[in-house]
Amino acid sequence: MSVDVRRRRRSRQYGVHIALTTIVFVGLFPYLFMVFTSLKSNEQYYASAIAPPWPLHPENYVVAWEQVRPYLVTSVAIAAATILATVVLATVSAYVFARYRFVGRQVLFALIALLMMIPGISSLIPLFVLMRDLRLLNSYVVLVIPHVVAGVVLGTLLIRTYIEQLPGELFEAAQMDGASGLRIFVQIMVPLVLPVIATVSIITVISVWNDFFWPFLTVTDDSMRIVSTGLTFFQGRNATNWGPLFAGYVIASLPLLLLFTFLSKYFLAGVQGGMPGGK
């Protein structure tokens, strides 16, 4: 009986492999198509969209790099500035909420947590008008602020939860030794919450890379475009120039792909922890 079950299972595993491989292939197919096409000349692409690229045309990447580079630089700068501001604000406020006892603590925390419930798109219009009134349109600041707001809300929640799971003795011992609040924060808390900071940072990079409407509406100056809006502009300019166009897509994908490859643990934690919010 058990041998029978076992044999049936064994034979079934081929089917499982075939099914999983098929799903993987279908899922990755558009990206394989992207890499293929990025190495083709227009004539090759018009002849057949499926055929493998031969001879290769790596010079497409040179053309694309020239045009996509400024968008990448802006996106990286925006992401870095956002991460810096988010991490400073979120770690400090999470620490305060976790370790200080003060009047209004619960209410203030609830006010921050409540912001998780507001769908970003419903404040898009009023936020746009506010930025316009503050004369911040077409600036780097306008690109950073919404991501900092989202990051601080999520970061404060995640980091506070994390601190509260740490043994309280850690902090008390340091306090007994006469360490100041600042020293406890910098030398004990920050090193301990680094994994959460990494997750929040990755969420920030993903949301900067994927945000579209906000940068599209608030920044019209081509020199300040980020990857998402820059690529659509780039597509408009190269609509019939398939090779360089797809090479540009490949280049624009590399930063997230590198994060995914080398920090996949934090990347997946980010996807699962940063659940609400723009996609």
Partner: protein, 314 residues
Amino acid sequence: MVQNLTPPAERSPVRRRSRLRPTLVAYALLLPTLALLGLFAYYPAFSGIFHSLFDWRPGFDSPFVGIDNYLALANDRLWWQSFRNLGLIFIFTVTVGWILPLLAAELLITLRGSRSPVIYRALLVAPMAFPAVVTVLLWQAIYHPNQGLLNEILGSIGLGDFARNWLGTPDSALLALLFIGFPFVAGLPFLVFLSVLQNIPTEIFEAAELDGAGRLRRLISIDLPLMASQLKLLIFLATISVLQYGFAAFLATGGGPDNATLVPVLRMLNVAFQGSDWGIAAAMATVLFTIALILSIVIVMSGPKNTKGADDER
């Protein structure tokens, strides 16, 4: 939690003298965060609701109009059509959009060995690592009427008759748009399904197998019930994200052809940025916010087993 309620200062009575100081320090430290969130999160949220009652003309005086903006959008045929499309998008997302991730998760936990499941999982979720814009632009190229991959493949396998302008025909545009990202495995639902299934003790599966329960039977009577509370969370998140759906439609179809892919977000942006009817756009934003709020409350309040209720909302 309880242990945290005892103030850390209790063990050193010397520190007790300054009860007020920590409070002031706490407020001072929180000030930057609270100011940021107050100005850029709370103010816009209230400003939107407030200005939905005005003929909002940013930079000029805006007369109070009461509920006129809401009456205007109630009479806006395109606004209603955008919700019809949104309903279809929601139904698609929670049915077709979840079946393949569920299937992939089931297949993955069936797999024996320690190495291959890890590799498959990485490859299955890899599409997540590509920017959303790139994914949409790639599919747009795949759907291209003349040089598109899809039409070429159809032609080469003798199904050339099915070739069409996928995104440019009202009949197929919405469905073509929704298939962007097929097979939808690279995403949160898959990860959630997988972690639920991985946390089911293997004894349960073995017991089910000994009782002669087939795979489908097991799915229905063991796997799905255990997923109920997670499904509730996923439905909640799907609701919020579907309400905000718009970016892929904006890029791939612009809401067309013939408004076949128009969604509320796009209608709202059109009304604001093309029509300059900021008051009506603010009313639309308020409606979206209210719907999200009501659905959140309904979904959170309904019991974990009662996930069907959320589907019926539509």
